[in-house]
């Protein structure tokens, strides 16, 4: 049995996607922990837009995000000067459904006008998906999360394929990795998310069975290095000592 939770596994694999010097647009929760983990390991010069707190915030608007920050700006400024102008390297997305081309639904399950489940809606995700250079998404790997067809397309991945996104001339690079508790999905040359890596002890069949579309497996399928003791120590001792985000399954 692995001696780490699936939340820790997601966070550590997300941190490894970040590069030193990246400017990251991030909210709270696991992506926030991933940024802070990356800063303490391989990316000390990571710039965080949104949240780089001294204590673990519950909300994206927590006062701890302000005291000691380099800059605070209005909502219009964040979206116009930072995101639309092209000053964001990495955006973390959230959502209830993601399809094979990395499009995301964060709006509604069922019919829009007569919703079965009303979700929170876009927030900033429509613009992050379009304009951040690289987008990542962390999610449990289930058929419900990875349906054949979205109920609503809140934000753009590769739309109907890479060519369609290119034709739309969006400045951002689109959904470049989906980190799940089973492995990593990354887009192939057509923009379709394929299984490129498995976490230790997971089989490709497990990943395929838990995907709502016919998931392709990359020929050079990798195994992710297991969480190392130092990564786990930083997460457990320094970043989330009460286990608010990391205790459970993702």
């Amino acid at each position: 049995m692995a001696d780490y939770t699936s939340s820790e596994l997601l966070t550590i694999n997300a941190a490894r996607l970040l590069r030193d010097g990246d400017t990251v647009f991030v909210g709270v929760g696991l992506p926030n922990l991933a940024c802070n983990l990356a800063r303490r390991t391989h990316a000390p010069n990571l710039q965080v837009i949104g949240a780089q707190p001294m204590r673990l915030p519950l909300s994206i608007g927590d006062p701890t995000l302000v005291s000691g920050a380099l800059s605070v700006c209005s909502m219009y400024d964040i979206f116009a000067f930072y995101l639309q102008r092209g000053n964001v390297d990495v955006g973390f997305m959230g959502g209830a459904q993601i399809d094979r081309f990395g499009n995301v639904n964060a709006t509604v399950i069922g019919d829009y006008a007569h919703p079965k489940v009303r979700l929170p809606g876009s927030g900033g995700s429509m613009e992050i998906a379009a304009w951040a250079n690289r987008c990542y998404l962390l999610t449990p790997h289930t058929r419900r999360r990875f349906p054949e067809k979205l109920d609503f397309r809140t934000s753009a991945g590769f739309l109907g394929g890479r060519a369609e996104r290119e034709a739309a001339r969006l400045r951002g690079g689109g959904m470049l990795a989906v980190v799940t508790d089973l492995g990593l999905l990354e887009p192939d040359e057509t923009g379709e998310l394929v299984l490129t890596a498995l976490h230790p002890g997971v089989t490709a069949d497990q990943a395929c069975e838990n995907t709502g579309w016919d998931l392709k497996v990359a020929p050079n399928l990798r195994t992710t290095p297991p969480p190392d003791p130092e990564e786990l120590r930083i997460l457990r001792q320094d970043l989330d000592p009460q286990g608010i985000y990391l205790k459970g399954s993702a």
Partner: protein
Amino acid sequence: MSKVIPLDEAVRQLVRDGDVVYAAGFTHLIPFAAGHEIIRQKKRDLVLARATPDLVYDQMVAASCARKVIFSYMGNPGVGSLRIVRTEIEAGRLEWEEYSHFGMISRLQAGATGLPFMPMNPTAAGDLERINPNYRTVKDPYSGGDVVVVPALCPDVAIVHVQRADAEGNAHIWGIIGEQKEAAFAADRVIVTAEEIVDAAIIRSDPNRTLIPGFIVDAVCQVPYCAHPSYTQGYYDRDNSFYLKWDEISSKGEATASYLDEWVYGVKDRAEYWEKLGSEVHQRLKVESRLSVPVDYGKY
């Protein structure tokens, strides 16, 4: 001329049934006390606009004040679902209109600057634009490319909470600024609630911090702790445990009704509400001081 009046008086004079109301503040400085006063005065058929409706609109919808909500992210921040707004929408009892954050804020930006609409680069996602006819795509007359536009939003009344204002409504805000300036300039009528009413000399000592000029303000109300359970930077902390507790309260109609009875209808004003919260909460939400270094404007 002083515009200082009690909050109940300001709500009576400036908030009317059927109004489009914008209570500003992105998680920070949310004017809960004004929301509660609107509930006590039984205002009806309001159109409640906010990028993030937050608990304050959940409570106002629970109290039957609203006909419609306009929003861009309808959740309990950091906790999950905004249960009452969500339930009412799912049941078909509440109208709604939605945008992305940028679309919502661009609408206010247009309203605040006197423009008919605001352009944004396309995001290609498509579905929000399909279901909300306020999103239009037009040609950029210079490049011939597409831009997405949204119409100005001009609320009937904006409510903005600030750290300090003078008696005319010149207001200093620091910490997370959401859309307070845009909402105030876009609205027809503006209510400023303030932790402190200060002498104009204090405002003049740091004019770069004035986000809202007094001449667009109609009423100034001194309301300490107005923002609880949200917060006021430097004055008191966010009550995260109440945000978690609301998730439970709002999951049952009875619990919601008894909350409103006890904490809204059952108190006269914010001072009584704060007193009722008790010393444990007061202690927990206290913040230690962390002063900025003064800047030198120079004497000229």
